[in-house]
Amino acid sequence: MSRQSLTKAHNKISELTWEPTFATPATRFGTDYTFEKAPKKDPLKQIMRSYFPMEEEKDNRVYGAMDGAIRGNMFRQVQPRWLEWQKLFLSIIPFPEISAARAMPMAIDAVPNPEIHNGLAVQMIDEVRHSTIQMNLKKLYMNHYVDPAGFDISSKGFANNYAGTIGRQFGEGFITGDAITAANIYLTVVAETAFTNTLFVAMPDEAAANGDYLLPTVFHSVQSDESRHISNGYSILLMALADEKNRPLLERDLRYAWWNNHCVVDAAIGTFIEYGTKDRRKNRESYAEMWRRWIYDDYYRSYLLPLEKYGLTIPHDLVEEAWNRITNKFYHHEVARFFATGWPVNYWKIDPMTDTDFEWFEEKYPGWYSRFGKWWENYNRMKYPGRNKPIAFEEVGYEYPHRCWTCMVPALIREDMVVEKVDGQWRTYCSETCYWTDAVAFRDEYEGRPTPNMGRLTGDREWETLHHNEDLADIVEKLGYIRDDGKTLIPQPHLDLDDPAKMWTTDDLRGITFQSPNVLLNQMSDAERVAHIAAYRANKNVSV
């Protein structure tokens, strides 16, 4: 279709909408934003007649590559360290994708611009594509990788796991609460425009370096749809900016969305990329370097900063603090160690770090070894059952962390932990911004104006609460993280599958009592709690 005929076709298609006079579409999902003064433009000239064949062609390429990978036995050269983390990642990501599809009618409800409804509906179909193509990739891994355990319980594991629940925010944040906060600012303006760069571009790069060229094939195909979604988001953002009343809400939502995306995505993807790789070439970009390129330069400097010309206050402080956490506060390294500490309640295996890994980390993140090296040496020493309990229950100078009530990643940068009584309960937060998100942003009033449509933090937010004082073996059985012999654990703190004696079973966990830090915190007297918090913040938490 030529450019001229594309424009004519698009103009014709825009004639399909009309102003209703008998009844107006139900508003199922409210927003506190207003669009009365908004310009009505749709930058996305997408026509189904070109859309379906285009996507079919993209699909054919993906599935051709999949056939080739199977015939060429790609799995002879895939690094198990990498594939094990895919058990977690690919259990999480199809949910945010399908949630993005479900978010589209929320945006359609909220934005009175028929011009953009078409683009949002096309995005809905894209997101169904993304979710199912990723589920299919996982199925392929399950069928062809040496250890399918963990892939086989994938969606169940995602739903009942402490790490799955962190990732779940990335989907639930799209579909709940104020329609614009959720479906536009959180989903499109921040998650898709900023963080899909590390998810769908940086991570595939690492996959390829670990012998897995299917993940890049699938995710680059997914990413090729994202530019259209970014256009949708930007259009709505500009419409919102047309009304001065929206400015405080936009600034609130940018702060929440930016910080939550950083907490959740950088925790996960930083870990997958740097602790799932065997590629330790010194000239390979670190996660911090990728972040600098893809998020700081590409997103913050090129996309967010120009919004200042519209008078919008950009959360510069939070962008800088995210960078500070990644480079100076060892954020994702702490997360990786936390995931490895919790290995008995994972549904994937975590390979110990070696001297080669230590050298690379020290090169990229000076000071890494003195902070984490001994702990990983202890992890390696305790990787087999028989002589010790799982590392979380041995004395290695590591104190199990409190969970952040908002982002659900633990308060791993211990000196930054905030503790406050909110809604009658002592809650811990990883940062001032996560505290603000719960106590200020997600409320029915913001800066003196009613915000009845804003969402609420709900559910049993501290995973450990559900299992307080239970036997670890019972917890793992209840979660279903057991292999088909009825006793060997799916998770292992190593990759050795050749000797049954090296595999942990429920017998090795029996007699260990699991406790919730938040339950214990709420049981403390005021004096005990003050002392506990001071000690927690002061604890360097370094193995010796």
């Binding site: 399909l16 379906f52 064949p53 949002l120 979710s131 589920m135 399918p148 009942n160 559900l466 599958l497």
Partner: protein, 378 residues
């Protein structure tokens, strides 16, 4: 002479220099079957029960992707709306099921089926339109038929587009399972593609036929008396909050009594006799879409009326929905009667078309095990 680097020394010794621009390939032997250990053969998703003995591709990529506190979601939904729960509350419809998760789309729609099927339709429509232009097929149309297409096919495309964007796209946020919502999302895609195909057909006709009024469709849809009850009904559908009622009212009632009446029992029957083989080809794709979409609709409502606990209550509820929406649909259909007289060739009468649509509607209601309204029992 400077000291040789390690690489240069290695090269002098005949060792190949490591090129660190690229990662090295390592054979890891990580393929299935290379070792035996507990669960080494566990190569199917174990967290759901397939409808048949073995899970289909559709089930594997669809079931449980949308979690549920009743299925493993141990911490519950972690974000809520300002005035209620988050996630996918079952209270968003008055219909009830003990087993919402048992629903499977008989079309087994997932990514590949969506694009294969719709791309095939796109090719069919485009070929048809290209051939029509090459053969100057529109030149043989009489003015009555040209006007009929401009006015009525033109009006109908608005209905399809409204249903796409404000009925099916909306419903797919609200259903309690991924299987329901994905089937409905595909329904939305069908409607959007079909509406656009009709609009682009209208554009082609405007360019090919001097007497074709490519603008009249807006006025007809907005103000012509014969189309106003249909527009009213479509707008009332979009204003319905209960997602299951909306699906019932649209795919069971409206589509049978108005949509199929117009597409199947009128356009598909009379176009050829008016010298037009293009319109039925395009409208036929919409009919094919509806046939497909009716399959999942039928499956869902049959599951609900056969629910061991709530089946009888659901039947009663659907009876109420039928009583609410059928008169509106009948009114819309009745108002359309004048358009049966507009073409030069009139091989079917309005009465015949209505009888056929009513018969098919009765059969559908029987399949759904619902009571046939008195008006249809003749």
């Amino acid at each position: 002479m400077t000291e040789a680097t390690a690489e240069e020394t290695a090269e002098e010794n005949g060792e190949k220099k490591q090129d660190d621009r690229f990662p090295s390939i390592h054979f890891t032997d990580a393929q299935a079957g290379s070792l035996e250990f507990p669960s080494s053969k566990s190569r199917s998703y174990s967290y759901f029960k397939p409808a048949k003995l073995r899970a289909t591709m559709y089930e594997d990529v669809t079931v449980d992707v949308q979690p549920d506190p009743e299925r493993y979601l141990s911490q519950g939904w972690i974000y809520g709306f300002g005035d209620g729960p988050g996630g996918y509350p079952k209270e968003w419809t008055a219909a009830k099921s003990e087993v919402w998760h048992d629903f499977r789309d008989p079309n087994q729609e997932w990514e590949q089926t969506i694009y294969r099927n719709n791309a095939a339709v796109v090719r069919q429509v485009q070929l048809c339109l290209e051939n029509a232009k090459r053969a100057h097929a529109y030149a043989g149309w009489n003015s009555a038929w040209t006007s009929f297409v401009a006015r009525n096919i033109g009006a109908w495309m608005h209905a399809e587009n409204g249903l796409a964007l404000h009925v099916f796209t909306a419903i797919q946020r609200s259903g309690p399972t991924n299987m329901i919502n994905t089937a409905v999302a595909v329904n939305a895609a069908h409607k959007m593609r079909f509406a656009q195909d009709l609009a682009l057909f209208n554009l082609d006709l405007s360019e090919e036929l001097e007497e074709f009024d490519g603008e009249i469709h807006k006025e007809v849809w907005q103000s012509s008396p014969e189309w106003q009850p249909t527009r009213r009904l479509v707008e009332e559908l979009t204003a319905t909050g209960d997602w299951c009622e909306l699906l019932f009212a649209t795919n069971v009632v409206f589509e049978q009594l108005v949509g199929a009446l117009f597409r199947s029992e009128l356009v598909m029957q009379i176009a050829a006799q008016n010298g037009d083989y293009i319109t039925p080809t395009i409208v036929g794709t919409g009919e094919n879409d509806y046939d497909r979409d009716l399959k999942y609709t039928r499956s869902l409502f049959r599951m609900l009326v056969r629910d061991e606990v709530h089946g009888e209550a659901n039947k009663e509820l659907f009876g109420q929905w039928l009583a609410k929406w059928m008169p509106k649909a009948v009114a819309a259909a009745t108002a359309l009667q004048p358009i049966w007289s507009q073409p030069a060739e009139k091989p079917v009468t309005f009465t015949t078309s209505c009888e056929l649509a009513s018969q098919k509607f009765s059969i559908l209601l029987e399949e759904l095990e619902l009571e046939i309204p008195k008006e249809l029992q003749s």
